[in-house]
C-alpha cells in the first residue's frame, strides 16, 4: 500500500494489524511515543490531512489506534516533519520557550495537537489549550503548556499552510491481506457474504484497544470509512439524520444548530484525539453500558437506520440494546444513520459523573429531557442513564409518573424514589453501587434546581 508520510509517498508491505505507531517507530520515526497504547495519553499523536469546507485541515489522532492499512491513500504527518530546514515551527518554539517540556516524553504529542490547533481553519484569537485535552503530561502540571498555546497567533505562511488550500486525499476503496475497505454499501455486503469471519471497523478507537491491550486479532477487518451511505448529514425541520460513520468531531462541526444539551455533551465525550476518530455508530454498536452517546440519544428519542443484506429497517434506540454489550443487530447488519426527531425537548441536560472531569469513562451518565405544556404540566419526559445497568436505560416508570404533573420539588422527589426503586447498579473500580444509585437521584435534583433557578446554586 502507498500513503503520503511527511509529504513523501511511501510504500509499505501489508501489515494489516500492526498499528501506525509501531510501524513509524520501526522505521526510525521515534518522535511518536507509546505511553499507554489505548488512546488515553496522546504521546503518539500524529496528524492526518482531512477534508474541510475551505480545503483541508490537520486532524490530530492517536497513532496507536490506527491499523496501518487504514492509512492507504491517506496523508500523515509526524513530529519529525514540523521543523523546516532546522527552523522550529511556532508550536515547537512556544513549547520549548515556555518550559512546556520536562521529561519530554509526552512533548511531541502535545506539539502535534497544538500545531493542528494553530492551523485549524477559521481559528481566530489565541489557540485553545483544550485542543490538547487528549494529551497527558505527568511533569509540568500543564501551566506552561497552556501559556504556550495562548501565545500562538495565526499560522505562518509556508508549505503547511499552503497545503490546506488543497482538498484532502479521497478515501477510496482498498484491499490487502486481512483488510478491506469497500467503497459502497453493496460492496460491503458482497465482502461479508463472501467471507465468513469479518469484523467491521470504523474509527478503531475501541477495536485497536482490544488489539493492543487484549491481544485480539481478526482474520479480516472490513473498514466502513469509505462508505458514503454512512457519511450523510441532514438537518431538516423534522429531524436530524447523522451518518453512523461520521466522527464526533465531524458531527460537532456540521451540526451548527445543535441544542445546548448536545453542545455540552460533545465536550464531555472522550478527548479531541478520540472524537477525531470515534464514530457515533461505533459508540452505539459496541453497546457498552458506559458509552456516552446512548443516554443522550435515548433521551432525545433517537432511532437507528439499520442496513443488512436484505434491506433496511428502523429500530428505536430504546429497543436496540439487548443485553450487556449486545444489540439487536443481526450478523452483517450495520447502523447506517442515527435520526434525532424534532422538536428537541424544551429542557434537557446531559451529566457525566467521573473521577476526572474530562477524558474519563463515566461512572454514571445521565440525560434528562422535559417539555412543559402551556398548562405548566409535563407533556414529555425522558430519564436516561448509562453506567447503572447492563445496558443504557430509560426509566419508564419514573417518566410515566411525571407525565401530566407539575414540575416542582415534590414531583421531582417522587420521581427520585421511583428511580431508586427501579435501578440496581453494581460496584466496580469507578464507583460503588451506593454512589451510583445516589447519583441517579441527585442528578435529577440538580437538573431540577439548576433549571428552576436558571443558574446553579
Amino acid at each position: 500500500m502507498d500513503f503520503v508520510l511527511n509529504a513523501r509517498i511511501v510504500s509499505v508491505p501489508d501489515l494489516p494489524q500492526s498499528t501506525l505507531l509501531d510501524w513509524l517507530r520501526q522505521e526510525g520515526l521515534t518522535g511518536a511515543k507509546e505511553g499507554c497504547a489505548e488512546g488515553e495519553c496522546g504521546a503518539c499523536t500524529v496528524l492526518l490531512r482531512k477534508d474541510h469546507p475551505t480545503g483541508s485541515q490537520y486532524v490530530p489522532v492517536n497513532s496507536c489506534l490506527l491499523f496501518l492499512p487504514m492509512l492507504a491513500g491517506q496523508e500523515v504527518y509526524t513530529v519529525e516533519s514540523l521543523a523546516e530546514n532546522g527552523r522550529l515551527s511556532d508550536a515547537q518554539q512556544a513549547m520549548a520557550k515556555a518550559g512546556g517540556s520536562q521529561c519530554g516524553y509526552c512533548t511531541p504529542g502535545f506539539v502535534m495537537s497544538l500545531f493542528a490547533e494553530q492551523y485549524r481553519p477559521g481559528r481566530t484569537g489565541p489557540c485553545n489549550p483544550h485542543a490538547m485535552t487528549g494529551n497527558l503530561c505527568r511533569c509540568t502540571g500543564y501551566r506552561p503548556i497552556r501559556d504556550a498555546a495562548l501565545s500562538l497567533g495565526p499560522a505562518p505562511d509556508g508549505p503547511f499552510l499552503e497545503r490546506l488550500k488543497q482538498p484532502a486525499p479521497a478515501m477510496a476503496g482498498f484491499a490487502c491481506g486481512g483488510f478491506e475497505r469497500p467503497a459502497s454499501l453493496p460492496d460491503y455486503f458482497q465482502i461479508i457474504s463472501r467471507e465468513p469471519d469479518t469484523q467491521a471497523i470504523a474509527g478503531a478507537t475501541d477495536l485497536a484497544v482490544e488489539a493492543n491491550l487484549r491481544d485480539r486479532r481478526w482474520p479480516l477487518l472490513v473498514s466502513l470509512e469509505a462508505l458514503p451511505e454512512l457519511r450523510v448529514f441532514e438537518d431538516t425541520p423534522d429531524h436530524v439524520e447523522i451518518g453512523a460513520g461520521l466522527t464526533l468531531t465531524e458531527i460537532e462541526n456540521r451540526w451548527a444548530s445543535a441544542p445546548p444539551v448536545v453542545r455540552d455533551w460533545f465536550e464531555l465525550f472522550a478527548s479531541p484525539l478520540i472524537r477525531n476518530r470515534a464514530t457515533l455508530g461505533g459508540n452505539l454498536a459496541t453497546a457498552s453500558p458506559i458509552g456516552d452517546a446512548a443516554p443522550l440519544l435515548l433521551a432525545l428519542d433517537a432511532r437507528l437506520k439499520i442496513a443488512g443484506v436484505h434491506g433496511e429497517r428502523w429500530v428505536g434506540l430504546d429497543k436496540f440494546f439487548s443485553g450487556y454489550r449486545k444489540t439487536v443487530l443481526a450478523a452483517g447488519e450495520l447502523i447506517t444513520s442515527i435520526v434525532v426527531p424534532k422538536p428537541f425537548p424544551e429542557q434537557a441536560r446531559f451529566f457525566k459523573i467521573a473521577k476526572r472531569r474530562m477524558d474519563d469513562i463515566s461512572t454514571v451518565a445521565a440525560c434528562f429531557a422535559l417539555d412543559l405544556g402551556i398548562s405548566g404540566r409535563i407533556t414529555r419526559a425522558a430519564i436516561a442513564y448509562g453506567g447503572v445497568a447492563a445496558t443504557p436505560v430509560r426509566v419508564r416508570i419514573a417518566e410515566e409518573f411525571l407525565l401530566g404533573k407539575r414540575w416542582n420539588e415534590e414531583t421531582m422527589q417522587e420521581a427520585q424514589e421511583r428511580i431508586a426503586a427501579q435501578l440496581e447498579p453494581l460496584s466496580d473500580h469507578r464507583g460503588s453501587a451506593a454512589y451510583r444509585l445516589a447519583m441517579t437521584q441527585t442528578l435529577l435534583e440538580k437538573f431540577f434546581v439548576e433549571q428552576e433557578d436558571g443558574v446553579a446554586v
Binding site: L29, Q92, P129, G141, T363, H429, Q441
Partner: protein, 777 residues
Amino acid sequence: MKAVGQPLPHESARGHVTGEALYTDDLLRRFPGILHAWPVMAPHAHAAVVSVDASTALRIRGVATTLTAADISSGAEGDTGPNRHDEPLFPSEVLFHSQPVAWVLAETLDLARQGAERVVVSYLPLPAVLTIEDAIATGSFHSPPFHLQRGDAASALAHSPHRLQGELRIGGQEHFYLETQCAIAWLDETSGVALHSSTQHPSETQEIVSRVLGRPRHTITVECLRMGGAFGGKETQANTWAAIAALGAVKTGRPVRVRLPRRLDMVLTGKRHPFLARFEAGFDDDGVLQAVRASLYADGGWSLDLSEPILWRAMFHSDNCYFVPGMDLTGYVAKTHKTSQTAFRGFGGPQGMVMIEDILDRVARTLDLPPEIVRRRNFYQEGHSTHYGQPVKDAGRITTIWDELLGTSSFAERRLAIADFNAAHRNRKRGIAITPVKFGISFTATAFNQAGALVLIYRDGSVQVNHGGTEMGQGLNTKILQIAAQSLGLPLTAIRLMPTRTDKVPNTSATAASSGSDLNGAAVVDACDKLRATLLPPAAALLECAAEAVRFENGQVFADGTDRSIEFVKVIEAAYRQRLPLFAHGYYRTPEIHYDPATGQGRPFYYFAYGAAVAEVELDGFTGDTRLLRVDILEDVGDSLSPIVDLGQIEGGFVQGAGWLTLEELLWDKQGKLATNSASTYKLPSWPELPPDFRVHLLERAADPSVVYGSKAVGEPPLMLAISVREAIREAVAAFGSGGIIEIDTPSTPERVFFAIERARPRRLSVAPPKAEAAQR
C-alpha cells in the same frame, strides 16, 4: 552574565519538541537482531509454584529461548532485592498477582507474548494478605516496628485539656512516568555486558546485574541517556528489567530488550505506599498541640524494597512544621501480596504530613477555630528541635512564608467572600485553606549523601561534563550546565552534558531525595575548581598578572584591574603545552549529617526546604465534584539555580500531589489483581486539574550559603503543598454542615466527597449508605 540563576528552558527542550531527544526504547533500531522479552505471569496473588515447563514455548517459530531458574549460573544469585535479598527473579512462591515466574525471548514482542502463553506452570494457590487490616490481623510485617519518641506523650495526653483520636486511610499512587520501564542489554566488543537502562540509579542497576550474572561490576557498564519521567519509580525498580535483559544477552549472545508496556508496568511495579494512620492528639484550649501518639502502617507489598527508609521519612515528617512536645510514633511495614511499594516523590514524607494536617484540622474544628489560626499557633520557632533531635534550621522562615502568603493571597478577604458565597448557595460550597511544608533534605541513609563528577576539557576549549546524577525531566542537567558554565566562566554552548554512565563516575547514589543538584552540582563545582586552579598559573603568565587577579568569564580569561583578557582556548593550549592535566574529578559529601537508626535520633537532614500553599475549591453538593479555583504558592528554593526549572518543579509537583490526594485511586480486586491497571481506569491529572488561577512565587532573599550557589532542593517538597487542596475540600465540606470534624480518606474522589457531604449534612434524600466496597485498597 551569570549562567547560574538564568531562566533557561530545559537543556534538551529542542530535542523534546522535535522528537530528536532519544529514550532507551528509541534505540531499538541500533541493535540488529535484538530479542524481545515477555514474562510468564502468575494468575494468583499468593501461590506455590509447583512446576514450570517452558519448553513448550520453544515450539513457536521465532521464540529464541526462555529464561528460568536454570539460567542462573553457579556463583550468581538470581535475586534483585536492593537491600534484603527477597526478590527472586524466578520465584518458587508467587507473592503478588501477575508476578513473573519465567521469561520468553523472541524475534518480536508478539511472538514472545505468544511463547509466554504456552509456558505451562502449575500453581498451588495459597491464602493472600491484601489489605493493611489483613496484615495487622495476621501479623504479616516485613520488619519489627520502628519507634520514635520525644517527651512523655502518654502523660501529656492524659493531662491535655482536650483529646481526640481518629483513623485515616491514605491511598497509594502510581508513578505513571510516561516512559515505561525499559532496558536494552548486549555484549560489547570486549565481552563486557553493556546496558542502556531507564534507571535513576545506574550504579545499583550495575550492582544487581553483576549479582544476577555472577560477574564483577567492572564487566558491566550501565548508561542512562535520559528518562521519560521516573518520580522514584525507577530508583530501585528499574533493576529487574535490566537484569532480565542482561541475563538474556549473555545466554543468547544477542541484544535483548525488556520494555514493559503500560499494562505490565502497572501490575508489576511498585507504587507510593498506601498508609493507615491511627492517632491520638492532646491539645489545649488554644489548639496548641501537647502530644501526638500515632501508629503508621505502610503497605509495603510483597518485598521490602525501600519501605523501611520510606516509613522512617514518614515518621520524620509527622511533625511537618509543628512543635509537638510529646511525640510517640510507631511505624509498621505491612507485608501484603501486592506490588512492592517503592520510592515516590516525597518518600513517605507526604503520608506523615497528611496525617498531622488531618489532626490539626480536627483540632481546629473541635475548638471551632479557623484552621489557619491553629496551624500558625503550633509552628516551630527558632531554637526548637524536631522530635528526632535535629535543630530546625531557619525555623523563622515558616512564619515568614506563612504571613507573606496570607497577605499576597488576600486570604482574609477571600475567606469573607467565600462565607458570602456559601451563604448564597445551598448546593455549591467553596473552601479555602493554607498549609505549610517543611521537608528534610538528604538521604536518611547517610552514606548515600556523596557524589562524583568528571570534567574533561579538550584542546579546542570545549568541555564534557560527567556526573553521577540522572536526568528524568527534573532539569538536573540544565542546572549542571549552568553550574559548569558559571564555574569555568564559559558560555553554555562550550559545555556538553554526557549521558550518565557507570564507567565515568563509579559507585554513585540514586538521583533521588531531591538531592540531585545539591550533590552532583557540588561535585561538578569541585572538579571545576580544580581545573581553574590548574589553569591559573598559565593564565596568569599569559596575562602577566597575579594568579589572584585571574577571572574566568564567558569564554574569556581576564586580568582583574587591567584591560587585558585572553580567550579561554589560548589558556587551555598553554596548559596543554605545559603538560598540565585538563580533566579533573570532583567529589562532594554532605557535611554534618548523622543519625542512629536504632533510636531515630540525630541530624538526618542537612537542611529543610520550606513552602506554603493556599488553595481554594468549589464543591458540587449533588455529585461531590471538586473544582480547584485558585492556588497561591510561596516556595523557598534558596537562590534559584534555574528559575524556569524550579517553577516547573513547583507547579508540576503540586499538580501531581493534587492528583494523588483527589483523583488517582489504586484499587485491587478480591483476587489481589490491580483493578486500576491502565490509563483508562487510573486517572492522572489532566487539564481540568490545572488551577485556572495559579500564582507561584519564590521566596526572596533566601540564599542558603551552605548549598551549591546558595540554592535549595526543589524536587519533592512542592508535592506536599497539595495538601492545601485536601484541606480546602474539608473546609468546603464543612460549609455544608453545621460544625464538627470532617473525616475523609484520600484520595478525595467525587464519591468520597459526596459521602463526606452527606455525613456533614444529612439530607431528606433516600440515599442508601455506602456498602462495603467491592474493590479494595
